[in-house]
Symmetry: D2
Subunit: 358 residues, 4 copies
């Protein structure tokens, strides 16, 4: 049975895999200085509506690297800190990587996954009140979609960008799952809009149809200088760098989202969103309780411990929160999930519901 564990359980979508095979024998310069990376960078800039002189595109292998390297550059001084929600990936699931580079992570108590200007401002004021005895909040970190599957709307993201830039701070957008965000019915932002609000952001490949790879779009002038050095210092400058360019070029070759010849990158996200919507609606119809609206390819449901155990065992779900009497489990769909996979899972869930009465 298809497992809904994560969106990095399978390999690459067909076009990406084929491109890797076809280019395998070529000799190219190393360390992302090859022509494939150059072409892929142009495709990324085009998708973002940016001219070459406005931004650099750099390719790294994974999302944590994209986050850490970018923030290490955006946090200008050793006493600079980043502000994020308490469940922010940089705060919780990166083994203290930012701290290991010397920087404090200041977490708001926003509970819904979205960073709010109000909570950011509380932290900024509290730090400013004690001058050089506290850190200097210098960057905001948000992920779209959020860790809880939410999708930022224009109002939220513009408010954060405005606050950041009014306070000499930088805005970083973790786009590990930005493609499902952009294709979501809940979305009212465009990629060019996000790319201009953020000082740096990235388009995730690992979770959207590539074997691996993230394309970091950098508008901040200091980070444009820093990134190549930091990539190597952080041990994330891929020797056969063309593998990143080949994959992103293949994924982004084609039309814009919704066009007839939609590029694989967008098709992958569309598939993930649509199968998630089908799964979410199906589960709700069966009487399962969603803890948040289904707006992208992560779905969260509150179930009994016994049901959680079954879902973990048979559908690959993860338990996200242990609430004592109940559990919140997560389902994730991917570019490789099919409608048939969903229907099989729904049949299983229906049976589970009948047998457990939950």
């Amino acid at each position: 049975m298809h497992q809904f564990t994560n969106d990095y359980s399978e390999g690459a979508c067909p076009e990406v895999l084929q491109a890797l095979v076809q280019t395998n024998a070529e000799q190219t310069p190393g360390y992302t200085t090859d022509a494939y990376c150059a072409r892929a960078a142009r495709l990324v800039l085009d998708a973002c509506g940016l001219a070459a002189e406005e931004a650099d595109v750099r390719f790294v292998v994974g999302g944590t690297a994209a986050n850490v390297i970018s923030l290490c550059g955006l946090l200008d001084r050793p006493y600079d800190a980043v502000v994020c929600t308490r469940d922010g990936h940089v705060n919780t699931h990166e083994t203290g990587a930012l701290e290991s580079c010397g920087h404090k992570v200041l977490a708001t108590d926003d509970a819904d996954g979205f960073l709010s200007v109000e909570k950011v401002d509380e932290i900024v004021r509290a730090n400013a009140a004690f001058g050089n005895h506290m850190t200097r909040p210098r960057a905001l970190y948000v992920s779209d979609t959020t860790e809880l599957g939410g999708v930022y709307d224009a109002r939220r993201l513009e408010a954060l960008a405005a606050y950041a830039h009014d306070h000499d701070m930088r805005l970083f957008v973790d786009g590990a799952r930005i493609a499902p965000a952009l294709l979501s019915p809940a979305n009212d932002l465009t990629l060019p809009r996000i790319a201009r609000l953020a000082d740096a952001m990235y388009l995730g490949g690992t979770k959207n149809g590539l074997l691996f790879g993230e394309a970091v779009v950098i508008r901040d002038p200091q980070l444009r200088q820093d990134f190549p050095w930091l990539m190597k210092q952080h041990q994330n400058l891929l020797a056969k760098g063309r593998l990143l360019g080949v994959q992103f070029e293949a994924a982004l070759t084609g039309g814009a989202p919704g066009t007839a010849d939609e590029a694989p990158y967008w098709r992958c996200a569309r598939t993930a969103d649509e199968t998630a919507a089908r799964l979410g609606q199906g589960l709700i119809d069966l009487g399962f309780e969603a803890t948040a609206p289904v707006s992208s390819n992560q779905l969260f449901f509150r179930v009994s411990p016994a049901v959680a155990t079954a879902l973990v065992r048979d559908l690959g779900c993860e338990v996200f929160f242990d609430e004592g009497a109940t559990r919140v489990v997560r389902f994730v769909t991917s570019w490789a999930t099919t409608a048939a996979d969903v229907d099989e899972a729904l049949a299983y869930a229906a049976e589970l519901r009948r047998t457990t009465g939950a």
Copy 2:
């Protein structure tokens, strides 16, 4: 008028100053390897009821250094983190020093200044649930007195030590104000008891009658090895190190607390506590609202913004919390505060109360 800003506003108590003057012309080896430091270390161990083979005593200039150097050694691996309350000094007022050394600070939401086993356990469980994607809580940080002037009782501190040691964690006690804690009526701990519960702790000198200096008592075997190296690496190995030994020897020469010939170190703390109690009771009698029981030499009162402004201007108070309609201000007494200083301040406060009606 005497200022109640802090307990490091004046120089040194008479015996300490005199010792510095008397020894000024001597030549001694540098870097705390002299005979004064050796004798002072023995006095510290005696006060802690520890034999020389059980612990090392190291002298550093200030409290932040004592905290950071100790925790950098106790946090064994690069992915180890320390747990403290949200207002813990290492979390808020050290400019991200621990993070600058690579370690995450995990703050509980304990709100009263005391670290609770319940909140620590929440953090330990949450981190353990995600294995190598999260940090490893490895040490507990508490300060006695707390940042809010509270004094740990035996039940609390023993529970924390038991939890730590049951979970292969270390307990560190920041004793910048441990002398006022030990002399407090609220205290039921002894210094030897604290020294045996903690893997490392320190006796503060800066805030208790010395020009500067903290005596770190180290029982943890690894930290005993590390501390001399870390002192130098953290730029806190004093060249004329004997200045620390001379001061601590002078401060600790004399009887135990409460004896007729009480050592200056204990007399200083007694003075700070007694003048604080006199000030606190006087303010309460005048109708001021204490936000916490007065148990050591820091006092917190809730006042109107206008009264806060006057207290800051004329008595040197600091505003600790801005609650909108009200302010919480802090008064601190020291070894140098006299009963007359307190009475003058109370007269001022009475007049202030009459004129503002607050």
Copy 3:
């Protein structure tokens, strides 16, 4: 014309590429916890003659990550340093990565690429003479083959291991090019012997027929615990970790070096060594001056500036040393270099020699 720039200019050898294609659709757990990684780890241990309880195998994407993560764990305390030759990769070509993690690199003035016990001992004594004012040399770093293409013999490596272990130090072997070393005529070591001399070492994949990937073999008990945490903290825990297992399993499936069904990993190295030997002898026969014996797949020749310019332009050589009147250029062969490629290059070199008279 074939370029001799590096051994990471092409993609993967056929068996490795095919394995990636065949397994592409499978769903597996992430972060190298899958069955492919488990099987590949067993193959690595088998090749090293180690039982599962004696060592762990961890897979990272690149060589700098393997070096930095391993040394960050082996350098036990914040004041520990690593000793290497002045041209050691960790000293010169990792953008200060080890220093960015807090550790000093102590470089000997060994000039031939091989670390010598004599020079190590000078550094160890010099540091010990100043106690806690200097760092503590704690690990030795060597690479086999060396940065200058040399191959360690048993006498050298055993002497270094004995010195390290006599001085409570650890030995790390960078094996980015260990396969060409093991297949070299100059070699008298076996992989099991190296694996037992070293506290940690790795088998390079990136430069020996994989798309990417290094297999780190860890015997040191502390590093066995640390490595998974450090992988994530250093942003090198691959989400689709099975890609590493799939590749190493494919590369190591087959017979030992020299057997009829030799595994692809050994065949790749043999090809690199043999084409290097053919190229080296051919260049020497043409009158070119080798600066060191040709013993593995890196070759260094001293040429005039004009010849260097031509070799860089047409054969992809790199200039390694600018000696003023002369240049030292490097040729590198790989698993993908053919005898025909070499012969074409030699024909070019012969013509170049005739026209330049150099």
Copy 4:
């Protein structure tokens, strides 16, 4: 017998000690924000010929802190490195403090204690040749006097400053012993000249008549912003900060060097230099071999092992280099050394020479 171990073996010169005693009872704001520090800063600026808007003066407790904090700010990006001689204090005797803050130290092989433009340029070129695979040399570190007692002349220091500023690098001058340098007959620089050549430098107090304290003069705009934050993060923001201001004010109150009412700071250095000259000439007259011209208060002599043992035991000398058959020992004079102390030492040395025949 007077010990010639170091220039931080005694306490403070009389004026400095008296100032500490006289101001002991005063209450002042903490953390160097008091009026004494403000006045001392103006005296330092005056001595440097700088206006308040041109530079900041910050006071730290010790020399290693002054070096590390300054360089951590001047090294702008995480991949920036500092260049110094191989015997530079930041390279050898700070327990890897700069590396612990993330920065590589690039040591030239200059052997005489003076940094040369030629050797700096070699390192700059070597690093530039490999782009983002190597660090970026960003600052030069020199100490005046040097670790070997040498005094920079204008030609050397101006050449280094010109090189630095032509290459977008910063020049830092460690002035732990700058007063003896300025008063040396070998000197042709003025303090205002040095202060304008350097982007940051400091006037040492610890080794020139204060109990402790260094006055850092900062012209670099970024470091002017950073220093207060870095002081706290590096655990070197003294709570009773006025102790630094009181001492420097007392030391610098008085006339310029050579005037009738010469300030204590200059008198201290003059005494150290003059007693060193007397000692050096006396030893040479006795037939001892100086390894370098005596130009400041550190003297180096080559002696037999037996003589070295006696000098260490009886005059407090340190062995600096073990050359096998001979030893190089160091004598240091201070503000507290008298002519009589020197004459007694010379009588001892004469006797030693007679009895050992060395």
